[in-house]
Each structure stands twice: as C-alpha cells, then as structure tokens.
Assembly symmetry: C2
C-alpha cells in the first residue's frame, strides 16, 4: 500500500547520528539501568517515594547527572553529559529523573553556581555522592513566575553575625519543593536579603532543614504538597521558617557578600540584574526539562508506532487480514508529523546542549550576549518541547485506544509525569514572553527579567530593528535561502531554501509587526502603560513561537548537513520536509493572510504532506528505532502481547473452526 524506501537505512547509523556527541553517556545508561529502575505500576505515593529514593545512589555518577561537578567533588566538569544523562533518566522513570534533577541539577547546581569555595569544599562531595539530599527552595505559594517578588526575608544582624530567615505570611510559604516532604536534609533557600535596614534583592542561603534523625530543625515547618497528577516518587513539600537563625557563612555569596558588620557588596550593582545573572547560571535546568520532555515523547511515540504496526482493526476488501492501524491515513496524520517534529526538536536540543557546554563549560568569563541568547533559546525550546510532549503523549495514548488508558501500557505514566513540565522551571507562556522580549530588545538590559509589564514603555522605546541571528550552520542556511528565486511559485515546496525562507519570513514579519504596534502603543497609551504590552501580548507570543520554529528548522538542517551516511541523510531529509511543511500547513492561515502563499500553493502543500506520509509509512519503525530506546525500557504490556494475540486469532480464523467462520 505504500512505496518502498529507495535506500535501506541502517538503524545503527541513524542512532549514531541521534546519539551525537554524548553517545557514551547514553550507552552507559542503556547498559547500566536494568529492569529494577523501571516504574512500578499502581504503587502508592509512599511506595513510590521509598523506591525512588532507594534508586538514587545506584545511578551512574561520572557518566550520569553528577558529571557536571568538578572532578575534585566526584564529577568531571561535563555539563553536556549531565543534561544528556537527564534525558536518559527521563526514558526510564520520570520520578527518578526529577528526583535526581532536584538533587544534582537544582540543589547541587545552586551550591556550585551561587556558592564559593568554602561551600564547595564543605558540601559538594556529599551532595554528589547523595549523602546530603537537598532542596531548591525558590517558588513560594504566592510567587511562582515572578520570583523576583519572593516574600521570604533573610535579615542580617551584625550583633550576632547571623541571618534571621523568616516567612512573614502564608503566601510566602515555599511550595512544590522537591525533596522537601520526605528526604531533604538541607535546602538552598531564596529570600530577600536585608542588612543594615536596606534590601538588596533575592539571594540564596544554604539552610539545614532536618536533623540527622530526620526531624525538622527548630523553627522549620515542613508540609507535604500531597498527591499530584503524576511524579508520585517525588516528595514535593512546603517549607515555612519562623525566625530561623542562619550563620553568616551560609549565604551563597558568589554574587553578593555581607561583611561581618553587615556591609553589603556585589560585583553587580543593580539588584534585578544581579538576580537574573544568578538565575542565568541555572539555565541547564530548563534545557534538562525540555530534553526530558522530548525523551519521554520518544518513548510514547515508540509505543504508539510499534503498536500501530501490529494492531489491526477493520477489514479491507484487498487484504486477507484486517488493516494495520499505521496503514490508515488518519493514523499517519497523527503519528508522523509528531515524529518529524520530535526529530526536529532533537537536533535543536542537541545544538542547545552543545552551546551550553561551550558557553558555560570554559574557565574564562562568560560572554554576556551569548549567555542571554542561550537563556532565550533554552526558554523557547523548553516551552516548545514540553508542549509538544503534552500534545504528543496525549495523542499516542488515544492512538492506542482503551489499551492506552491502562497503566501497564506505560502511556498514562508518561502523560501524568510530564504534565507539569509545561509550567515548572518557568511557565511556558511566561517563557515565550521572555524569548520575545529578547528578540525585541536585542538581549539588552535586564533581558532575563520575566516581567514584561513593569517598564513597558521603556521596552517599547528600546525595540530594535529586526536582525535575525542564526544559531546553526550559518553559511549553509544563508546559501540555501539566498538561492531561492524571487518568485516563490516557481520553487518546489520541498526546496529547503524555500522552507527556511518561509519560516524566516514569518518570524521577521511578526517581529516587525510587534515592534510597530508597541511603538504606536507607547505613543497613544501613555496613561495606560499596562495596556501597551497587554494589547499585543498574543502577537508577542506568536513572535516567540515563530522564532522557536525557525531555530528548530535551522538546527535540523544543520544536523542533516553534518550527517555522512547517505541513506540516513536521505531519510532525515524527507522527515525534515514533513516537519517544515507540517508547520507551514498548520500556519497556512498566516501565510495566506500575508500573501506568502497562494491558495493553489497551500493546496499543494497539503497534497505533498499526504504524499510524504505515504513515503515515510514504511520507515515509521526505523524512525522510532533510531531513538535507541532499549526494548525493556518500553515496559509496555501491549507491545509484549499484541503480536501473539494477532497470530493466535489469525491461526484460529485460518483453521476454519466452524464456530468462528461465517457460514
């Protein structure tokens, strides 16, 4: 029913391309994590927490998440390896990945990035070894997105040379804090620093929250966030501080120091700028969450594609057996564009991880422009990958029918566990706003601020003329784009240059429009500064989404260019066509509205997409096998059982049992 591939693809070669630079880390996880690391279906919250805590010390160290720490503390200063390890854990058990992410990424990462030598020497070795479990206590019940406005205070008293950490009211309670409800011995607590009667913005302290016996420290109240949609193995909790005394040297003081007499000093003068510089060092958290969401999506797609290749339903007049789900156009329309998008995002994520590793991994000072561009990219890709995960895992569960609703078939856990990724480590909508703000201001001034409103008129005046900054394979993409003739209609829709130009046109036009509308607003709505931004918020978010789409396509194109195996390259090129044309098809309203597509060409795109589905149909299995997920990791009953059932039924039908064959 479908055309055959012209060149057979060696799955091992495809996997090599996808495994990329940290292939060794991926292989270490595939080899070391056996069945005992897989989720247990139907366990209670207490059972899940117990099990996950027990697994933590058994995880790979130098080839795992702790790889990011310096060798002297047990790692090997490999930031990229640490993010890739997070992706791998996400395919095994998402509770385990989050628990490990809290311990080594957030908690340990904060001590490493915000602390100084004395904190490192005193704690990092135990943190890496998992002997001190800890929390990252930033979010409060009252402030999740706008963390610059945290209400917890930490006030220095020169007389005692200690800080007084305090939760002034219930909205200032630390909330959703991983590792808090059960296991955490210490916490990095974020609070407003006050000394000598002056506030200096949000800083972080390393604070013991439980004693050796596991009881809360004096003045610390610990609550449980209770049952959640998923991530049962993670002990999210709530922390309140009733005038808790914190020694002066527990301030993580890389970016701000308090002298014994209470004098404050910092290499960064502006409070807000300092805070977002502190947050910036934590950029790999967002890259890890985005990568983990993508990794879980690959598991879901592997389950749905593999099931669709054995599950049959409804007979066809031209086949003896019933039709495989994957042979239906509607099923291909669900699975294949999602698979193509997953491939595209994979290359974008790989590029992001390499860039973080390069920018943050060196010994010298970090290039500020690159750092901000990186924060923006991590934010945008985190939003794109987590929403893609939520949509795609949902679709995969539906594509498996009632079986997809049973825990034993893995999909319910993947859906429930990843669900929170769209709003943690930054709410996706807020993150896209941050991306747009970076584009609008050229990453100038307080870019990191999540607050798009406070100084709207300022930003409106600052918006720059659009300059597209390419992230990947700059010269190749320039060449492809500039080779497209002026009259689009003459170019095939599968021309890569035309596709790149279409993505770029959309981003550029949307950005220009946002600039124009913000400037108009700044002059006509001077008395309503909130409305200047709010009236264009939908437009601004569209800019960010278009930007992420472009960055993703460019990364995919660069990834294909770097592929040497011709068969793999040819396959990836068709997948890239499907990705690019699916995005254009999904936004054809915009392209038609702005004269970028004629109606006739829009119809051609739909026809070409359908042809691509036919062409890629026989490659669906290869495409998911390329993800390299060990079969046991799929942990899915229907994949183990359905083929046998179909065989049993076919054999029984063929045997002509009078009870089952029509008279």
């Amino acid at each position: 029913m479908s055309s055959q591939p012209s060149v057979p693809v060696d799955v091992a070669r495809l996997r090599e391309v996808l495994d990329g630079r940290w292939a060794e880390v991926r292989e270490a996880h595939r080899t070391e994590l056996d069945d005992s690391f897989l989720p247990v279906y139907g366990e209670t919250g207490d059972q899940a927490r117990e099990r996950i805590t027990g697994l933590l010390p058994r995880l790979p160290v130098t080839m795992g998440m702790p790889a990011a720490f310096p060798a002297e503390y047990g790692g090997r200063s490999d930031i990229g390896a640490s993010i890739v390890a997070t992706e791998m854990l996400a395919q095994v058990d998402l509770s385990l990945m989050v628990k490990a992410g809290v311990q080594w990424g957030l908690f340990g990462g904060a001590v490493l990035s915000l602390g100084t030598r004395r904190h490192h020497d005193a704690y990092l070795r135990d943190i890496v070894a998992g002997d001190i479990l800890g929390c990252f206590a930033m979010t409060e019940t009252g402030h999740g997105s706008d963390v610059q406005q945290l209400r917890t205070t930490c006030t220095y008293d020169p007389a005692t040379q200690t800080f007084d950490l305090h939760t002034p009211h219930q909205a200032a309670r630390k909330d959703y804090i991983g590792n808090a409800a059960r296991d955490g011995r210490m916490a990095v607590v974020f609070a407003q620093l006050i000394t000598n009667g002056q506030r200096h913005g949000v800083h972080a302290w390393l604070v013991p929250i439980r004693d050796a016996a596991g009881n809360p420290m004096p003045g610390v109240t610990i609550g449980d966030a209770g049952p959640k949609a998923g991530l049962l193995g993670v002990d999210n909790g709530r922390l309140s501080f009733d005038h808790v005394t914190v020694p002066r040297d527990m301030l993580l003081d890389r970016y701000g120091q308090v002298a014994a007499d209470g004098t404050y000093s910092s290499p960064i003068e502006n409070d807000s700028r300092r805070f977002f510089t502190m947050l910036g060092t934590l950029v790999r958290g967002r890259a890890s969450v985005g990568g983990a969401a993508a990794a879980a999506t690959k598991v879901a797609l592997t389950v749905a594609v593999r099931y669709g290749d054995i599950r049959r339903q409804f007979s066809s007049p031209d086949a003896e057996r019933e039709v495989l789900l994957n042979d239906y156009l509607a099923h291909q329309r669900k699975l294949l564009p999602a698979l193509a998008t997953t491939y595209a995002l994979h290359f974008a994520q790989a590029e992001l991880v390499a860039a973080i590793d390069e920018v943050q991994g060196g010994d010298g000072p970090v290039d500020e422009h690159r750092q901000r561009e990186l924060e923006s990219r991590a934010a945008g890709l985190k939003a794109a990958q987590t929403w893609h995960a939520t949509r795609t895992i949902q679709m995969c569960r539906e594509a498996c029918g009632g079986a997809g609703y049973l825990a034993e078939n893995r999909l319910p856990g993947l859906k429930a566990d990843t669900d929170v990724f769209t709003t943690f480590e930054g709410d996706n909508t807020v993150l896209l706003q941050l991306v747009a703000k970076g584009l609008l201001t050229g990453y100038r001034d307080e870019f990191g601020s999540l607050d798009g409103w406070g100084r709207a008129s300022f930003v409106a005046e600052q918006v720059r003329e659009m300059v597209l900054e390419r992230t990947a394979a700059r010269s190749l993409i320039e060449r492809l784009v500039s080779a497209v003739p002026g009259r689009d209609e003459e170019v095939a829709v599968t021309d890569r240059g035309w596709q790149l130009k279409a993505f770029e046109d959309r981003e550029r036009h949307l950005l220009d429009g946002a600039v124009r509308r913000l400037r108009n607003g700044a002059s006509t709505k001077k008395d309503r500064p909130f409305d200047i931004f709010n009236d264009v918020q939908d437009h601004v978010l569209a800019v960010a989404a278009a930007h992420v789409d472009r960055v993703t396509l460019e990364a995919f194109v660069a990834g294909i260019e770097a592929t040497s195996d011709p068969a793999v390259k040819a396959l990836l090129s068709r997948v890239c066509d499907l990705y690019a044309l699916s995005v254009i098809e999904a936004h054809k309203g915009w392209f038609l509205e702005h004269g970028r597509l004629t109606p006739a060409r829009a119809k051609v795109i739909t026809a070409v997409v359908n042809n691509l589905l036919k062409e890629l149909r026989p490659q669906m299995g290869t495409l998911v096998d390329g993800f390299g997920i060990p079969p046991t990791w799929l942990h899915c009953a229907i994949l183990r059982e359905e083929a046998d059932r179909q065989e049993a039924m076919a054999a029984h039908d063929a045997a002509g049992d009078p009870q089952t064959v029509a008279a």
Copy 2:
C-alpha cells in the same frame, strides 16, 4: 481595564436558561449530593472502588439515572432525565458517574432495549435498585472499534436447549469491562450467534458471572484490567468463557430469536443491519459520555476562571497590587474561547438530549431516518465534547500553574478521569468517520456500520448530492442566512447570518469535495478499493468536524432565540459571536484558501475576537456561575485559600513591615 457590561446579568436567570427542561433533575442532584459524594484525593485503587460501590445505592433514583426505566421497574420512562442525571454525576465524581453509567446505562439499558418482557420482569427491578450489579461485555482485547467482528462465540445446541458461550483465543477476551473486576454479578455478553451450523452475527446474552458469594461462576475467568490513568473507583476487568452453558431464555431476543429446535428468526433479515439497529438503541450512552465530558469541562473552567480572578502575578505600573491573571490578554485567549465553545456545546447537547427523548421516548415505532440522524449527531457531539474536554481541562490545569498539578485542586482528577472518554463508547476518529458516512450517503443503508472500508466502492457510488439538514430552529436560521447580501465584505463579522453562512459554506464545500474525490477514486482505483477511502480519510474527517461545528452553532443560535431575559440574551449573543469567530479564526487557512475570506477581513476577525475578550472579561465570573455548580462540588483548595493569602500579603505589604518593604 475592560469595558463594563451595558446590562447587568442576573446569574439565576442565566442558570435557568442553561438548566433547561430537566432543571428539576439538576436541582435534585445539587441538593441531595453532599460532601460525602465528592472525590477523595490520594486514595488507593481498592479504597476508591470500595467507596464508589458504597455510594451507588445512595444516588437519586426517579430523579437520577434510573429514571429511564419504566415506572413498573422503579423509573419513570424519562430518557432525557437519565442523561441529564449523568451530566450532574460527572460534576461530582467521574468514577461514580461511570460506575452508575455501566450499571444503569449500559447493563440495565441493554437488558431493557435488547431483552423482552420475561427479562424485564425477572431482572429490571433488581437492576434499578442496584441489587444486581452487572457488566456490558462487548469490547474484546482484539476488537474495540470494529465490534461487528467480535470473536466470542455462543453456539446453540438443540439437544440440551442451551447455548455454549466460548472464548476461542486470547484476542477474544472481553476487556476493559466496567463492574467486572470486583462487583458484577451478571453480564450482558455480546458474541457471535451460531445455531444449526449457521452464523447470525452478534447477539447478546444475560450471563451470571459470579455466584452469591462473589466467586466466579464455573467456566468464567475474571481478571483485573489493573491500574488506569484515572477512574480509580471503577473496577474494569477482563472476562473469558470456557464453554459456559447459558440457558436458551437468557438470549436477549428482541431483535433475534432462537426456537427450541435451533431455528433462527428475526424481524431484521440482514445481520449487519440488525446489529447496528441493536447498537442504535444504545445511542444515549454516547450522548451521556459527551454530556459528562462537557459537565467536567465546566468544573475545570469554573476552577480556572475563579482562580484567575483572585490570583495575581507581576506588578503593573498603573495598579497598586499585582495584576490578576484574568486581566492578561494571553490568559483571556486561553479561557474565554474555551468558555464560549463550552456554551455552544451546552446548547447542542441540550438539543440532542431533547431529540433522543422525543425519538426514543414514545410508544410508537421509531422513525428510522430520525434515529440514524440522531446516532450521527450523538457520535459527532460525543467526539467534539470529549476532545474539547481533554484540551480544555489540560489548558485549565496549566492556567493554574503548579497548583493545577496538585490533586487537592481537583484538576488532575478531572483530566485523568475524562481522558478515556475520547476513545470509549466509540473512538472519536471512528465516530467522525461514521458522521461523515451518514452525510455522504444521506443516512442510507447500514449507516450505523463503523466500517468505512469494506464496501468503499459501493459507498462511493451512493454518495448523494449535498442537502444540508438543519437540526435547530430551521426557519430562523434560514431567514438569518438568506438575509446576508451576496457581497460578504459589506457585512459585519458579528452578523449572525454571515457567521452561519460561513459555517455552512465550509461544510458544504468540504462535503462536495469529498464526494468528488470519492467518485474519482472509485473510477481510477478500482483495483485498490482500500485506497479509495484511505486517500481521502483526512478530507472525510474534516467534513464531519465541519458538520459538528455547524450543528453546534445552529443549536446555540436557537438557544439564544428561545431566551426571554434580555440581559441574558445579550450576553449569550456576545458569547456566540466569540464562539463563531474563534472557530472561523482557527480555520482561517481554509476560508482564505477557498476565497471565503479576504486577508483584510481575516485580520478584522482577529481584532474583533480580541475586542470580544475585553468586552467579556468582566463577565467571566458570571459565565461560570451560570453553570450552577455548587461551590462545595468544586472541591478545590486554591479556591478556598488563595483569596485569604492574597489579602494577608496585601495587608502585610501595606503595613510597611521594615522586613518586607524596599528601603
């Protein structure tokens, strides 16, 4: 920040309009179902099953789901009341709703519809009273959508005057069966009837599966479907039959009888036609699932809207306190179109329920054309409502941030419990195909068949010229549509006639295109009958979706027309504008591609939608209050606590505590 409504709306009047004809049933539930019926967060599967089973006998009877049964068995022959009662239970606890739906809708409904007097007299009273709990054992592991191909057999033996019920292989195992794993004493089992060596298609038998002590009957193997994504309180199980003897009179023989000597007779000669007539009597199952999904969506929207009206984040230069979530355009863009769609679907559902009540509730013979049209409408609205629920509840959970991920805030349960609705009682994609087939063939011949493939060429030849059948307020809608001048550009996009015409144009054009493509395919692909349909499957599904959109808009328009209160009518009219224009905006690619919209007018629509959001912003609370959900039923911690927290924070900030105010 937003304009005020011109006429104040009395919420009680709005609720009256929404409560509609079965307001009394709604009120009975609101009054009778106290806190003890609400979900318990964090319980185990066993605890949930125990609790739900215990609640079943406490539910309203004559004002509840059993109302559909005749008075002599404990009901009052009120089919509409029964569906509305299902909607109400869905707002209390979805496990309870599904458990009750299995007992009274599926199991009891099958005995009533497929059985005859002797079955009714023997069992219905106990079924209505909940003294016999039962299952609806249709789906098999191997056949869920294509239930005409079930593999379980039931073979008559004239010598013993009994049937032999048998599961020939593991693909024929009954699966996902509610009430099977724990509570069911009997089951309506669907199987292939064989008598005198001949097959007569699928029939149903009433079969005891457990004895009085709760042990499986001889030859019956009962398994547990295990943990699921949600619906923890429903004991879904698996049934296998090893040559189980079933007495002759346990055949539910309304549509097919087996005489003592094994002679088969039926008022409907064709096996397939008979089977789909049998299924047709169960149409209210789909209407109930669609209505339940919509009801749960209303709970989620009430939570998210009410939270967005108290939750603040990010400061604004022109306000003392931080900004309410609902004041952000991006938040309005998420919540308000979903709210408008929920309103539109509410009126479509109300119209469907009234139509089912009218067509099936009478004593005379059922009008076949109307019955088929009804099945199609129930299928289409079930798909639309359940997908809307999945998308909207997901969006609401994200709109509540991290709080939306905690079980105590209700949304995780709503999401997980409704998730399966998109694939049970008919997979949505398969149902839309059924809708399209009805439109293509004018509801002729085997319309009920879910199999779009087997006789594709036949169907392709049968496709009729398009005749739009209006379901609601026929003359009003004709008048509105015909009043639209030929040149669309001269009419405001808020003109109701223009909106109706746009929906109708889309459906008509898509249907014409599908007819043309099927006819072309039938002549050019004679040797590939599967491809005739498969190559246009995406197009055919688009026809169905456009049809459901049109039916929904027409029902909304009819509902507004029937509203007497002027303020309520004015508000509903604006909500209807938002619904209609959101749908057109979402499909603007199609409208532009087909010359139904100019680019300029497409941009006007986006601007008008944004204006409608501003206009409706102050009414968001009123709109959710109109759903009439008792506050305790919301069962949501953030709604109880967040307002107090915001007050505490505001008071603290205002008090100028030196620890919390910037120096």
